[in-house]
Symmetry: C2
Subunit: 384 residues, 2 copies
């Protein structure tokens, strides 16, 4: 089977935007086509990653509206939702559309508008993905993060400061990302002295509420070559669930969806964790970066925090993680995040990441829905 290539990518300004979902999607979609130099009427399939435009804005049917706004009608469209991993699921859907032969040019746009809601309202929409019993008892995703962080720190004898260093590192990277919501450094004291949200996690352990969108253009490798000689190949991709009810997991510090989806992606790409040069992980909460870096096989179980402390995951370390700034500083517009992760990896493997550039031939993106409920892992290789 022919390999699937990515020939264009875009990412809008993340943050508080004066634009509704339809404008956000059109902005990223249009920029992505421009980036690739591909006309809208060449698009055969158009997927939109979005969790909750209905709940957030009372507007559904946004893929069809986007087809209209981009002048891509009669391109086929659908919305792909996998809660906070809708972006990664969109990447998987777009990959399948090309790999199956259904489409020879697929545009994926992920986006979400959230900042017009209060934090409580937005948290409530996100919490609707949990089991009703969890929700009823107030166990929202931040609560799970606090419980898991405490368990992790105790089990692996890790200091609280290690979590803070994830925030410090990712904010540092975000300074060089012009699209990031927060383009400013934070120091460890600021993180450790910020207000408690879910003990031991504090405000700076959490990603913000964000508006934004991102796009990717996928096609068969033979078609890619007609447009450019600089493209990335989706060399591996996989997806997997973990239990819907978080307390049913044998080990709360292991995310089964990350383990299973990455094993599938590694197998397909015929690479292992050691071959990955750069990675975008789903640091919705600082603790999640530790768990994923271990469950992806980058570090032994319980050792992820040591890698962060030792600077291994810094931009000048052996395995830079979240060079984009991560969800932590870049922001987390639900449907956009998984797409923006692949945007960053795409830029890195093509050597087009500007001030954030690291030495990367192979990159990985891990997008986590819920509290690890459903995960996609994508591996890219540059074909420059």
């Amino acid at each position: 089977m022919e390999r699937v290539a990515i020939i264009g990518a875009s990412m809008t300004q993340f943050g508080q935007r004066d634009a509704w979902i339809r404008e956000l999607l059109a902005e990223a979609g249009s920029a992505c086509l421009d980036d690739a130099g591909v006309a809208a009427d060449a698009v055969k399939h158009l997927y939109v990653s979005n969790m909750a435009s209905g709940e957030f804005e009372g507007q559904t049917g946004v893929p069809n509206a986007l087809a209209h706004d981009l002048a891509a009608v009669p391109a086929y469209t659908a919305r792909i939702d996998q809660t906070s991993a809708s972006g990664g699921a969109g990447v998987y859907a777009a990959w399948q559309s090309v790999a199956s032969g259904a489409s020879d040019m697929t545009l994926l746009v992920g986006g979400e508008r959230m900042t017009h809601k209060t934090t409580a309202e937005a948290t409530d929409v996100i919490a609707s993905l949990t089991h009703p019993a969890e929700y009823k008892h107030g166990v929202t995703l931040p609560s799970f993060a606090g419980l898991t962080a405490r368990h992790y720190l105790e089990t692996y004898d890790a200091p609280r400061e290690a979590l803070g260093r994830v925030a410090v590192k990712n904010h540092s990277n975000g300074v060089d990302n012009p699209h990031a919501q927060f383009q400013k450094e934070v120091d460890l004291d600021t993180v450790l002295e910020s207000p408690i949200v879910a003990d031991p996690l504090r405000l700076y352990d959490f990603c913000p509420i964000t508006d934004g969108s991102a796009g990717l253009l996928l096609c068969p490798e033979s078609v890619a070559r007609e447009y450019t000689d600089e493209y990335a190949v989706v060399s591996g991709i996989g997806g997997a669930t973990d239990t819907h009810v978080v307390h049913e997991r044998a080990d709360p510090t292991t995310m089964g969806g990350v383990v299973n989806s990455s094993e599938e992606a590694y197998r397909m790409a015929d690479v292992g964790p050691d071959d990955v040069d750069v990675a975008e992980l789903h640091d919705m909460f600082t603790i999640l970066e530790f768990l994923q870096s271990e469950d992806l096989g980058f570090f032994e179980k319980g050792e992820g925090w040591k890698a962060v402390e030792a600077g291994v995951t810094d931009r000048d370390g052996d395995l830079p993680i979240n060079t984009s700034g991560g969800l932590k500083s870049k922001g987390h517009p639900l449907g956009a995040s998984g797409v923006a992760q692949v945007y960053e990896v795409y830029k890195q493997v093509l050597g087009d990441a500007g001030a954030r550039q690291v030495d990367a031939g192979t990159g990985l993106a891990c997008n986590v829905g819920g509290f690890g409920n459903c995960v996609t892992t994508t591996i890219l290789e540059g074909a420059v």
Copy 2:
């Protein structure tokens, strides 16, 4: 490329159900696996067709919950939404997952719970798919149907009674469908004397508000043969959009999405309209059955109504349409409808449709989102 087979199908009781979305999905998913004799742990991908569980029930993340309820974890899951054509989009996603090689066993479950809402509330959720300007001026989908029906009747000199006969025919078919919401005949006078909703359309020209779910199990043909020698093949499938703003269409009696998606499906299946033996069309409103029967190429433009009047689309006619009872009598639980259409065609091409059975080797399902905004067409052939 190896062909994609369907080896199991299910449909729950449609109507007013005392069950929430999670129970509805689990019921159809479990029944579908039982029908195929396939264990839950063989499922690799699990897709859920659903438009609005968040808006209707405040619950999102239902694909992950379904994976849990069926004991299909760690199967990959995602939700596919294309408003009222979410079911057809799910069929397309499931087909792509198998055809791309990503999955060798994909379960698709479509479902929606709606009857706990008032008709006004449900209509409001559905109308959120329209352009805000349309919505603001009260042009909901029933309004479009009324306008289009009037235009069709005038343009093609068709009598009002012809629309009524669609309802009469589909109700007559629904009598033999034990899963249908309405299993009762209606006569033409009842239709023509029912309350006006959107002139000239009356209550019996509209499908009801419905709870329900349906399932399909897809795999490569070689895998199908390991389980059974009675399966259907998805010989053709395609999807296409039309303008998001309905008034921008050159001819309001032509649904471009139906034309384009069916042309793609016919080409892939290497068949034409004349080869279709049975079809399930999206008769959300009676007028839509005329439009689709013409845009699919079954009848000349403006002649669809004559075919209904002449009995051509009756169960004993040359081209039976909506043997299931259609959305009109079977009901229309948004995410389930497109899946249930393919369920009916699957039963027909396998000769397993009981009292509704017609002579069918090739069948077609056309699922319409919005007012033709996005459409999928699926063609099945029996491989008995």
